[in-house]
């Protein structure tokens, strides 16, 4: 039996700055995970991934990342995505410093 689809967001790195970006419901790339579109339907997610991947001039390495719905928008389910939305743990650099 196929595994049930779990909610996801589309994420990538920005072409110029290289930092983590997320795809919004209105086809924009945002630095804030809370603004990302949470995809709960598999067919819709696949379609959105194709659309996001077409934006080669803005984003690199586009993929779907598991999330859960939280009070302030999508929340990571895996520590890798948690680090991506925060920054490194040895210095206050990256998103934790900039946002």
């Amino acid at each position: 039996m196929p595994r049930p689809f779990t909610p996801k967001v589309i994420t990538a790195n920005a072409l110029l700055e290289g930092d983590v970006v997320y795809y919004t419901a209105d086809d924009q790339w945002t630095r804030h995970l809370s603004e990302a579109e949470l995809l709960t339907d598999e067919a819709h997610a696949d379609l959105r991934l194709i659309e996001a991947s077409a934006q080669q001039h803005l984003a690199v390495g586009v993929y779907l990342a598991d999330m859960v719905a939280g009070e302030n928008g999508p929340e990571p389910t895996h520590f890798r995505e948690d680090f991506r939305r925060t920054g490194p743990s040895n210095y206050a650099h990256g998103k934790q410093a900039e946002l």
């Binding site: 790195n13 290289g18 983590v20 080669q56 001039h57 520590f79 743990s89 990256g94």
Partner: protein, 555 residues
């Protein structure tokens, strides 16, 4: 040190100009990412978790003060004011922006540095013993050979698309400080019957399948180095597997075909290649050697050093751990620790880089080395200059007296930066260093090498750590496996796993358990951890780490 000739300078300028155009074409949309990625990797530019990362080669770990200052300038101008020195004698900038990279590369070219072949399936930065030219025990300085290999391998047309990446390391000493047995090709300068030559090892490597390199030629005549190296790599280029990334390194090729077959094929290819080398490479090597002439060592009294030792216990403690024997009388090799307790292993701020550059100029014959153990070396310092040098190092947080001790930990960037990582390494290293500093056990424990990797690829050399730590993702949680008894020296050995891994908040405690067990069972204070482990084996450590299992066995 080596200084570029017109050919080198023109080649680098041309490459940088090509890359500038490639970056422009990527930004204006003429190149897709699939087209651009191999081009940026050939120039050392990765895309990591939070940003791009630029890996700059420090050939055979040697820098002059002008180059170190330029590394600081790059850190300040285009990055966040620091750089990370790696286990392969590179420096990595963690925060460059794509449009700035061409300017960074031009800036590095001003001081004869580059990022060419620091990534991709090519011959990577050629590394060497960081004590080269200074070590009391070496046959000859290995750096001219490393430079010759660098020139030969850079843009070598046959070797730009190898089955997988390929790493050379060179040493001039029997004591292996360059981990040559964990490299695709390891080269040791040797002397036999009054003649210089090379012992050549092949097929070493860590990663998913750790293998200790094997001797393919015990004595290779000096003039055969390039044709023989070319024969080894050429054989691998044909024979190496391209169907499976995990079986593509030369260590697998040698193991699958057998060393004897590999040697036979290499010798056959060598017979074809040898006549094509007219001897010009040996003329070039002679020219390169002149660049590495030893500095004019001075003959001066060392009373100031003895007086400082007697008067200042902090200086004495630092001298006892951070100095190594120099070949010239009255001189010492100084290791500057980039492992201050609680700091990131291998990181240096731009201010520290400039301080090191100044000190190298003032006291160290303008010679700086980066070790694969992520420290900085001033290879030639007169003993009488050490008290002043130490005083300056203290001002810049560079006087930590811990070389070769518990807190002198190798750690890869791990999941704090690296896109391949499965767990973090840096905070684990920071916690262990802080714990043993608080326990005040560091000097009692004595010589110990802890090495941490944040994934199976083993950039942190965990397999050859006396204590190795491997960070993994176990069902969505960071988990750390421990190996014991590894050794990266001339007696190279792969560490053995103790058993199930430990959670992120348990790993420091587990290391403490291992080391307290060692203190309890060592026969004398002189018996090191590694010696004790070799004497008693893993069982006492396993019993201490997994008491529950021990109880179950006893029941």
């Amino acid at each position: 040190m080596y200084s570029y000739n017109d050919f080198d300078a023109a080649f680098l300028a041309e490459r940088n100009s090509q890359f500038r155009q490639q970056v422009a074409r990527r930004i204006d949309g003429s190149l897709t990412e699939d087209e651009f990625k191999p081009l940026r990797l050939m120039n050392g530019l990765y895309l990591q978790l939070h940003a791009y990362m630029l890996r700059v080669a420090i050939p055979y770990g040697t820098l002059g003060s002008a180059q170190m200052r330029q590394l600081a300038h790059v850190a300040d101008t285009w990055d966040k004011g620091y750089g990370h020195f790696t286990t392969r004698q590179n420096i990595q900038y963690n925060w460059p922006k794509l449009p700035d990279v061409p300017d960074i590369l031009d800036s590095l070219a001003e001081v004869q540095l580059h990022a060419i072949q620091t990534s991709g399936n090519t011959i990577r930065n050629v590394t060497a013993d960081h004590f080269a030219g200074a070590a009391a025990d070496e046959v000859a300085d290995p750096r001219p050979v490393a430079e010759l290999l660098r020139q030969w391998s850079t843009d070598h047309p046959e070797f730009q698309f190898l089955p997988r990446k390929f790493k050379f390391a060179v040493t001039g000493s029997e004591t292996d400080r360059a981990v040559i047995r964990a490299h695709d090709i390891g080269i040791q300068l040797v002397e036999k019957d009054g003649k210089r030559g090379y012992r050549v090892l092949v097929g070493g490597g860590l990663g998913r399948t750790p293998v200790i390199g094997k001797v393919i030629r015990d004595f290779l005549p000096e003039e055969d180095l390039l044709p023989y190296s070319e024969a080894i790599v050429s054989t691998y280029n044909v024979l190496g597997r391209r169907d499976n990334k995990y079986k593509a390194r030369i260590k697998i090729t040698v193991n699958e075909n057998g060393l004897d077959t590999y040697r036979e094929l290499t010798e056959k290819r060598f017979a074809e290649l040898k006549p094509l080398f007219s001897g010009v490479d040996q003329e070039m090597l002679e020219g390169i050697r002149a660049h590495f002439a030893p500095p004019a060592f001075r003959n001066a009294p060392t009373d100031a050093y003895e007086a400082a030792r007697a008067a200042d216990p902090v200086f004495r403690a630092w001298a006892d751990t951070n100095l190594s024997e120099h070949k010239a009388p009255g001189y010492a090799i100084v290791s500057i620790s980039l492992k201050k307790h609680g700091e990131t292993p291998g990181d240096a701020t731009s201010a520290q880089m400039r301080a090191i550059a100044d000190l190298a100029e003032q006291y160290g014959h303008d010679d700086i080395r980066i070790s694969h153990e992520q420290n900085v070396i001033l290879p030639h310092v007169h003993l009488s200059d050490l008290p002043a040098l130490h005083a300056e190092l203290k001002k810049h947080d560079l006087a930590t007296a811990n070389i070769g001790l518990v807190s002198d930990i190798i750690a890869c960037p791990g999941m704090d930066y690296c896109a391949l990582a499965t767990a973090r390494s840096i905070p684990v290293a920071q916690e262990i260093a802080k714990r043993f500093d608080e326990l005040k056990l560091e000097h009692e424990i004595g010589p110990l090498k802890i090495k941490i990797s944040g994934c199976i690829n083993a950039c942190g050399h965990h397999h050859v750590g006396h204590i190795g730590i491997l960070g993994l993702d176990r069902a969505g949680v960071e988990n750390y496996q421990i190996t014991l008894g590894g050794d990266g020296s001339e007696e190279a050995a792969i560490g053995q796993r103790t058993g199930p891994g430990f959670a992120y908040d348990e790993i420091t405690g587990a290391i403490e358990t291992i080391l307290k067990t060692y203190l309890g069972l060592r026969e004398t204070e002189e018996e090191t951890f590694l010696e004790a482990y070799r004497r008693v084996g893993p069982d006492p450590f396993k019993a201490a780490l997994y008491p529950e299992k021990e109880k179950a066995n006893a029941a």
